[in-house]
């Protein structure tokens, strides 16, 4: 079945959240990798825990709280100016090198492309505009409208409602194995950009397709015809 639209995860898939590391390294020389790694882990963990506990807060707040925890856990002091500088990185994330070429290659197919992300509408508009990628997408769909983060079903349902098609007519592209598993469990088709060469998450579902970089996506779509 041809796809009615393609959905992209943002953080870690189109944007390299590792690009935050450089800013963290400037603020805390020698601790940038540790800080950015723990910050990202906590950001995801808090998104899951808040959704499970029924205590939604938007991704900007969750991202800030994850930063506060990470800084405290690593015994770093954080003044307001540095905090503001680090948070601002989320509005000017660096896209992966393969992001723009893939979007251009895939754009010629005439399929509508959209983003489906945990980020707030403001965070998404800011980052995609800053990166010069906004024009590729018919919609930046934020889970904020459902007030639950991925992998809750209502988060994926937003895309189904937006396009008014069956879940199986949508392809979700993500580098996050847990996102791919959640989307597949929900009923979307999925393409996993397995940048790290990681094993498939053991969550009882398999991705529809797997590549190593975003450049593998146009090829995979071609093969499907």
């Amino acid at each position: 079945m041809p796809f009615a639209a393609i959905l992209f995860d943002a953080y870690g898939t189109l944007f390299d959240v590792g690009s935050v590391r450089a800013a963290a390294e400037r603020a805390f020389p020698g601790r940038g990798a540790a800080l950015s790694g723990l910050w990202r882990d906590k950001q995801l963990q808090y998104s899951w825990l808040r959704t499970l506990a029924g205590r939604y807060a938007d991704f900007w707040q969750v991202t800030g709280e994850a930063l506060d925890f990470a800084v405290a856990a690593l015994d770093l002091g954080l003044d307001e100016a540095t905090r503001g500088m680090l948070m601002a990185e989320y509005e000017r994330l660096t896209p992966f090198a393969d992001t723009a070429p893939m979007l251009e290659a895939i754009g010629s197919r005439g399929l509508p492309l959209a983003v489906l992300s945990n980020g707030t509408p403001h965070m998404l508009e800011a980052a995609f505009t800053y990166a010069g990628l906004r024009q590729h997408f018919v919609a930046l769909i934020s889970v904020d409208a459902a007030r639950q983060f991925k992998v809750a079903a209502v988060a994926y349902q937003l895309a189904v409602d937006h396009f008014g098609v069956d879940p199986a007519a949508l392809l979700l592209v993500s580098s996050n194995g847990w996102d791919v598993a959640g989307a597949a469990a929900f009923g979307l088709q999925t393409f996993w950009v397995n940048r790290q060469g990681a094993p498939v998450e053991r969550l009882g579902v398999e991705p529809t397709g797997i590549g190593r970089t975003l450049a593998d996506l146009p090829r995979w779509l071609d093969e499907r015809g």
Copy 2:
């Protein structure tokens, strides 16, 4: 308000899940710490993701799937015998050194003690019996009855239903900061055994009490009168 009962988390609170490390080290010399650490991280992550996605599988299955992922991610081969040996460790976990003395100290207060855990009924009965601790508890409450893992509200509700009291009349004791936050969000009183000296999780709630070891719990209860 005096408590009607005290609930204990099992893994990481009464039992040292780090005790799995020794078995992992025997199976994979030099890789025991990496394997047991990733195994535990994935076990928790899968419990949250499966609950969010509405795809519950019991904690024995989740623990096994987390092991399979961790072994694959670390490029280790795992035969059935080794897998069985590692999984069996969850039925004979080592209690922390402060567990039995605390249970004895607290037992004299006449308060009913119970366990509220992600573990299956079988896993809990096996581990508490093997450790010689089963007699301290009036109930080993498994979230399996609710088919959702902590920090879903229904998991904590099981304890409320069991004792037939207000949530605020129950004290949950846990070393897991995320568990303490989930229980507090639900409305239980909480005591965080902060063994690692970690910061409080930034999830919008605070523990009622904090200690560094389980030995701090009887003292804290005495101070409350």
